[in-house]
Amino acid sequence: MKQPLSLHINDEIHELNLAPNKTLLEVLREELDLTGTKEVCLLGSCGACTVLVDNRPMLSCATLAVACKDKKITTIEGVKDGNDLHPLQQSFVEKGAVQCGYCTPGMILSGKALLDENPNPTKAEAAEAIAGNLCRCTGYAQIIDAIVSAPEIADSKSTKTQHETLAGTLDSGPYLMPETGE
């Protein structure tokens, strides 16, 4: 039996009609197409489905959607500020913390929860904060580095926009086009 449920996700209210046994992960991915949150083990063992619920990291595979009523949910899609990357996202790019990218959304949300509480964490605190997020590619060192370096990027206010990659090195000036006879 489906029930109406209102969820507050990434500063938007979503009015949904859901079976009460739906996990938050299922709702994000299948109802709302927020596929940045990844499904891996469904056992709460890998951290890939981590989202923030009232600013605390939660495993969305092990959280019922109905339990998130009246709470503020942040997924990876809601981390950037408009088109600007969050300093932590930029730090991940700069420190080589991204390889295959499948653990990355969960890592960033666990890291963000830490930074929101403790703006200048040590490496040991960063490692502790992501101890529940598995990564097979990186060996974690660059991820820990990215978390502890994020405050510097925030201070320097040098975050990039998501679309900076479009800039390239555009050569100005006209092309020599063929004479078409027109």
């Binding site: 469904l42 063992s45 990876i76 097979r136 390239g168 020599l176």
Partner: protein, 765 residues
């Protein structure tokens, strides 16, 4: 001295081109593809280890509401596939050979319905005796797992002994005179080592969405290391031409060899063709641990003859690799055979390497491919030799290590070898005096060799009107950073910025053939094809400029997206002028291309029999030193620091290199200390990350790494690979540190607290 000074783009840290899409959650993986009218597939799997299939009844499943199709082997063309031995059907044919083997598959309107339908499929089995141990499986009285082995198609040169009983593939090395070598030895060391199954544990499960487009072509969205081989295998298994199949890989959530495989594609494709609807098949987490592939477990016997001064003079190695019920990549034993001599010159060497069927889940490719097993044996035994001959472990290695111009025991002459320098640099970095540092605290060292590069690939480089470029390769990026490196190579060759290069990978409609990314061949081999294609485009561009400027090509040079007349700084043409106009003038648009196959030289058949390939392009080397502390009460090993020094040729992207080295040694750490897929009577006992855990952020040591200066003349801008060799040293280095600290030699992986406590107890008695 670093050669990166000579380059504009090579050797400069370059952010991964796909990193922004991955930190925002925008990057789409195969698991993120949801198509309209998409059906969900589930696979019905064998619950017995070895049985003849008497009957399969799918009627109840077919009649369940919401079920659109049910397939068994009876619905498929009668084909088999595999890398060297074509032994596996999409579904079990006549027999099941392991618990977890695919017997049937269902497509339904949702996943729950598909799962319910799977439970309604009835299979009647006649159970057969099963065999789970590779040495038992080699006995003449062992149950035969593949009755028709002799009739299977093979893609290697068969030798008489290569395929008998449960042995599906064998390679041998015989160099020098093994009897004379042992006769001349002052000491002989003989040990047996055992290694476990390790799961690749890529985070993204195997997944395919198959669709049939409006023209009837099959479209595959998947997660793979080898799209072009997927396409060919689908063609042969489904009986449709390659031209009617498009494989469009998505971002790949980790591969490590585990996705150099074709697992979900044929099932999803057959169901999509049957229903004419998109079909999604994603492995469950449990299926990953029961029905995908792991690193081969096995038994390794090593006998080595040594002179008094520590010179290695003879080696006799037997490798028994358990490949499970099918042999998707039996040539892991061939790579094991190569690596079993270590990075050492051994004049008299014999290796017999067997890939053996058992009734267990399959052994397959996983980072290090056959070498972590062999290197654990070789490097553990080297330490034993050093200790018993009272020679410093690094001195013993330096005394025996290969140098450029030496031949490997396979007879292949090596041109790019800096293992000696990796040993010396690592020794200096840790200020090595002796292994033992304090009670329960010690250093352990290991070095190793891995075959790098080879096999067919090709590339196309297209110059755009504004002087930017597009490069296409059929290779894949599984997170290692191939996209970025191919962009850097193209940019360096053309004299443009890597931001100006669009890299197109994987899609079989848009890219030329690449055999797949494995064996440290991405940077070295695909990179070489990309460089040659860019060079071809550059030559055409220079010819167009020479024509326009009325000078000889030799008078021209490229800088900052301009072609200069070297004799006059003021005379130049923008790429934009040449391409914007030139595209329509002489010769037409510029497209550079290259096709290469660097694996062309065969091995000498007097030395090597049953080689799975011709000679590799080159070899990579590394030395790792670990500092460990062991809790003698609990037996727990803590790796405090790891120092890694690599000979990988020219470094293309330092950030990528760092990721490959630290990631590789972390996988090696898990292999050394705890990862173990445990199988009892054919049943996987720990099929999840909860029970079979990989290292977490709080398990990792501090890592310091470096490279040694080397320029491999066969690689693009002197580069070799690094992804595999970074895995192979951790297990022996840790075992050696444990022995140095406690006097306990662990010869089987993983090095668990239980084994250490047992070793301490035995030592005390």
């Amino acid at each position: 001295m670093t050669r990166s000074n000579e380059f504009a783009v090579i050797g400069k840290t370059t952010s991964k081109t796909d990193a922004i899409a991955k930190v925002t959650g925008d990057a789409r993986f195969a698991t993120d593809i949801y198509l309209k009218n998409m059906l969900w597939a589930r696979v019905m799997r064998s619950t017995v280890a070895h049985a003849r299939i008497i009957s399969i009844n799918t009627e109840k499943a077919k009649n369940l509401d919401g079920v659109k199709a049910v397939l068994t082997s009876a619905d498929m063309p009668d084909g088999k596939y595999g890398a060297l031995v074509l032994d596996m059907g999409v579904f079990a044919q006549d027999k099941v050979r392991y618990i977890g083997e695919a017997v049937a598959a269902v497509a339904a309107v949702d996943e729950k319905t598909a799962a319910r339908a799977v439970e309604l499929i009835e299979v009647e089995y006649e159970e057969l005796l099963a065999v789970f141990d590779p040495l038992e499986a080699m006995q003449p009285e062992a149950p035969v797992i593949h009755d028709d082995l002799a009739a299977y198609t093979t893609l290697f040169e068969r030798t008489e002994r290569a395929m008998t009983g449960n042995v599906n593939y064998q390679s041998n090395i015989n160099t020098g005179d093994i009897e004379a070598g042992f006769a001349a030895a002052d000491f002989i060391f003989e040990d047996t080592y055992e290694v476990q199954k390790q799961h690749p544990s890529y985070m993204e499960p195997n997944s395919t969405v198959a669709d049939v487009d409006e023209t009837g072509r099959l479209i595959i969205y998947n997660t793979t290391q080898r799209p072009h081989i997927n396409q060919a295998i689908l063609s042969s298994l489904l009986g449709i031409p390659i031209s009617k199949i498009r494989v469009m890989p998505c971002h790949v959530g980790g591969g490590f060899g585990g996705k150099n495989r074709t697992l979900t594609e044929p099932t999803a494709a057959a169901l999509a063709l049957k229903t004419r609807q998109p079909v999604r098949l994603t492995f469950s987490h449990e299926e990953e641990f029961t029905s995908a592939t792991t690193r081969h477990s096995g038994v390794l016997k090593m006998k080595t003859g040594v002179k008094k001064d520590g010179t290695l003079i003879a080696s006799d190695v037997k490798l028994y690799y358990d490949c499970g019920a099918y042999a998707p990549t039996p040539n892991a034993v061939w790579l094991g055979a190569i690596s079993s001599s270590g990075a050492y010159k051994i004049p008299n060497s014999r290796v017999e390497a067997f890939s053996i069927y058992t009734n267990k889940m399959m052994g397959g490719a996983f980072r290090g491919y056959g070498a972590p097993q062999a290197n654990f044996a070789r490097e553990s035994q080297m330490d034993r030799i050093a200790r018993e001959l009272n020679i410093d472990p690094i001195e013993l290695r330096l005394k025996n290590c290969l140098v450029a111009g030496d031949s490997l025991h396979t007879g292949q002459k090596l041109h790019s070898v800096r293992v000696k320098e990796t040993l010396e640099k690592a020794r200096d970095m840790v200020a090595w005096q002796s292994p033992k540092l304090a009670p329960n605290r010690a250093l352990g060292v290991a070095c190793g060799i891995f075959a790098c590069g080879g096999f067919a690939t090709s590339s196309i480089v297209k110059l755009n009107m504004d002087g930017t470029a597009s490069v296409a390769t059929g290779a894949m990026d599984m997170g290692q950073g191939l996209r970025t490196v191919m962009g850097q190579i193209t940019a360096e060759e053309l004299g443009i910025s890597s931001d100006d290069v669009n890299v197109v990978i994987g899609d079989t409609d848009l890219t030329p053939f690449d055999v797949g990314i494995f064996g440290d061949r991405g940077t070295h081999t695909t990179g070489l094809a990309v460089k040659k294609a860019a060079e071809d485009a550059k030559i055409q561009l220079l010819e167009a400029a020479a024509d326009a400027m009325e000078v000889d090509v030799s008078a021209l040079e490229i800088k900052d997206k301009k072609v200069f007349d070297k004799s006059s700084d003021n005379r130049f043409l923008h790429f934009r002028e040449l391409l914007g106009g030139g595209q329509y003038k002489k010769g037409g648009p510029i497209i550079g291309k290259a096709s290469i196959n660097p694996t062309e030289q065969p091995f000498d058949t007097n030395i090597v029999q049953g080689a799975a390939s011709k000679m590799f392009s080159t070899y990579t080397f590394a030395t790792h030193i670990v500092e460990t502390e062991i809790d003698a009460k609990t037996g727990e090993v803590k790796v405090i620091k790891a120092t890694a020094v690599h000979d990988c040729g020219t470094v293309i992207n330092p950030a990528g290199l760092k990721g490959q080295i630290i990631g590789g040694l972390t996988t090696g750490l898990g292999y050394a200390l705890f990862e173990d897929v445990i199988i009892e009577d054919g049943q996987v006992k720990n099929p999840s990350f909860l029970e079979c855990r990989m290292p977490t952020a709080v398990d990792i040591p501090e890592v310091e790494f470096a490279t040694v200066d080397e320029f491999d003349s066969r690689g693009p801008f002197g580069a070799k690979g690094v992804g595999n060799v970074s895995v192979i040293n951790m297990a022996p280095a840790i075992a050696n540190a444990v022995d140095a600290a406690l006097g306990v030699r662990i010869k089987s992986l993983p090095i668990t607290p239980g084994k250490i406590l047992q070793g301490l107890e035995e030592r005390a008695n």
